[in-house]
């Protein structure tokens, strides 16, 4: 009895410590909830009542709504391009699997290793010559280059335990290389493809450094609007969009948990 009691006590203590740590990490996020419903026009706590004007502003103010749409388009296209290219690249490297591919892999991973500011500068300089500055296409290409390594890593991980002979077996059974890709390789790489796509979307969605370099007036993404709102005006709409993103993330996680449960 004695032993059971102390072990239960220590268990409770450890759990309490865990929750306190979690609270410490999440508390700053929670601040955004009251701030987002302030009646004032600057970042402040709601002292004299609650107002949803800043949420309305996200939809009514063209500056906000337009940037949300732009960011969705860019993140969507980037996810599509990075996932398709990254998956094909990972499958190709998996199939060749020689020393040459090892070096190729490091080269493709470079955008992930180089500091973002260096990347941004490189894109800026190249995009001037290509005349891609300040265009949605230009941002999508840049983001695809940044996100491709993420897909490459996740898909490669999925395929790392996948026996080459399974592919050969499919060929021997009469399947053309394309059929093998579609029916055998891709289904087995799906977990990696999905997580690569998710990483790509999130990365493109909140990427700000590269976008600040290669866009000006024509293309304004959400992170850029948040950035300028904070530096110029301390707009509570920033808190409102933060709350929207936190809720969306929570919803996605809950859906994911529920689907994996069932």
């Amino acid at each position: 009895m004695e032993v059971a009691a102390t072990s239960r006590l220590s268990r409770t203590l450890i759990l309490a410590c865990g929750w306190i740590g979690l609270l410490f990490l999440l508390a700053p996020l929670l601040v955004t909830f009251p701030v987002s419903v302030t009646t004032q026009r600057y970042l402040s706590m709601p002292d004299d009542g609650i107002s949803f004007q800043h949420y309305a502003k996200l939809l009514t103010d063209v500056r906000w709504s337009q940037s949300i749409v732009t960011s969705l388009i860019i993140a969507g296209l980037t996810t599509l391009c990075a996932t398709v290219l990254g998956t094909l690249c990972a499958i190709g490297l998996w199939r060749l699997n020689s020393r040459f591919t090892h070096y190729l892999r490091i080269m493709i991973l470079a955008p992930l290793i180089v500091p973002p500011i260096v990347n941004a500068l490189a894109f800026y300089r190249s995009w001037i010559d290509l005349k891609w500055l300040d265009s949605i296409g230009g941002v999508v290409v840049a983001h695809t280059i940044v996100c491709l390594p993420l897909v490459l890593i996740t898909v490669s991980t999925s395929l790392s335990g996948f026996d080459r002979r399974i592919e050969q077996a499919a060929r021997s059974l009469g399947a053309s290389p394309l059929t093998v890709l579609r029916r055998i390789v891709v289904p087995n790489a799906l977990p990696g493809i999905f997580s690569g796509a998710a990483f790509s979307f999130v990365t493109s969605w909140d990427e700000v450094v590269v976008v600040l370099f290669i866009t000006s007036r024509q293309v304004t993404t959400l992170p850029v609007v948040i950035w300028t709102s904070l530096t110029e005006r301390v707009d509570p709409a920033v808190a409102a969009i933060s709350v929207v993103m936190i809720v969306a993330t929570l919803a996605a996680v809950l859906v994911r948990l529920a689907s994996s449960r069932s």
Binding site: R165, A169, S172, G174, N188
Partner: protein, 365 residues
């Protein structure tokens, strides 16, 4: 006259070579195979037997030579156009599909109707006794069951040839013996041609109708299991199949009754003629360990070599006795219950054998 006798050989491997840089994985192999045989490519690891099988399957492109199946050249065809069933080492089942879906795959890619696919899959699963497990995933099956699924998948589209790459190597001893029997039965029932790769000589001897012993990318000898075992042609085959004793000898001459007289380490040995050799030629003799007897006294009417016991190992069903003689070390596999005494190191014994035991060999190692 049957069809196979009137036309060219069913499967013909013609001067096939595969080089990896300086390494000759397959070195100018030619082999003809009639329809319906169970051929085993037997050889040590690195002998090129798997490379040869993969060249047949289409995953290794030969450097030169041809492979013809019923007259058509396979070399230029991709694997999916060759219509050969392949059972891979480790089985290579599709992990994301059920047993039924695995077996249905080759029929689906051939665009067969759903009804026909269902019928054929059911028959194939019945053939390998897996009808009850159709909805399982490969990960939920035992090694032996996975092996059967791989087999069903390879035979469901009725290929003329089924290639097996070490199909039993991952299984435990008892299961291996059971599946050897099943493979033999299956081969008889289907009547198709099987080509099996293994390094296990027991498997080769018990399952096959033909064995090709492969060494250093070449066919060392090709024949029925009995031919390979009883009449090895080279020192490599004699030693690799059944770990025969190989001793150096010199031809002395032919006796009036046709036997050949040799001398080995000062002992006169009589043997049967195999390869024509002139008197005085240096040859090697194969002497099978289980055809020898050891005794404490010399016996008449047979070959008899005096030696000293250097070791004796108990193996349950046999005693493995090593005897040092002036003709070299000789290993004897004796049945303990028939021996009458237990040899101890240092004992002087006679190794005795009839004159149809020694087989003259070509030296190749």
């Amino acid at each position: 006259m049957t069809e196979s006798q009137t036309s060219a050989p069913f499967l013909s491997i013609d001067r096939l070579s595969k080089n990896y840089g300086d390494l000759k994985a397959i070195d100018n192999i030619s082999l003809d195979l009639p329809r319906g045989e169970f051929l085993t490519l037997l050889g040590p690891s690195g002998s090129g037997k798997t490379t040869l099988l993969m060249a047949l399957a289409g995953f290794v492109t030969p450097s030169s030579g041809e492979i013809r199946l019923e007259g058509r050249n396979l070399v230029s065809l991709p694997p999916e156009k060759r219509d050969l069933g392949v059972v891979f080492q480790g089985y290579a089942l599709f992990p994301h599909m059920t047993v039924t879906e695995n077996v249905a795959f080759p029929l689906e890619v051939r665009g067969m109707s759903r009804a026909e696919i269902g019928k054929r899959v059911a028959t194939a699963l019945e053939t390998v006794q897996l009808s009850a497990l159709g909805e399982r995933r490969p990960s939920q099956l035992s090694g032996g069951q996975q092996q059967r699924v791989a087999l069903a998948r390879a035979l469901v589209f009725s290929p003329p040839v089924i290639l097996l790459d070490e199909p039993l190597s991952a299984l435990d001893r008892q299961l291996r013996a059971d599946l050897q029997e099943e493979l033999k039965t299956l081969h008889r029932k289907l009547g198709s041609t099987f080509i099996n790769v293994t390094h296990d000589q027991d498997e080769a001897l018990s399952m096959s109708t033909l064995i090709a012993v492969i060494n250093n990318g070449r066919v060392a000898q090709c024949g029925t299991p009995a031919q390979i075992y009883e009449s090895p042609e080279s020192t490599f085959v004699a030693h690799f199949v059944g770990r025969s004793n190989v001793i150096d000898a010199q031809v002395l001459g032919t006796e009036s009754d046709g036997r050949i007289r040799f001398t080995a380490g000062g002992h006169a040995i009589f043997g049967r003629p195999a390869i024509e050799q002139d008197a005085g030629a240096e040859v090697a003799l194969s002497i099978r360990p289980e055809k020898l007897e050891v005794s404490k006294t010399s016996r008449d009417g047979a070959n008899s070599i005096l030696g000293t016991v250097s070791g004796c190992g108990y193996h349950g069903n046999s005693l493995q006795i090593s005897v040092e003689t002036s003709a070299g070390a000789i290993r004897v596999e004796a049945q303990a219950w028939r021996l009458g005494f237990t040899p101890a190191p240092g004992d002087a014994v006679y190794v005795t054998f009839p004159d149809d035991v020694p087989v003259m060999l070509r030296r190749d190692d």
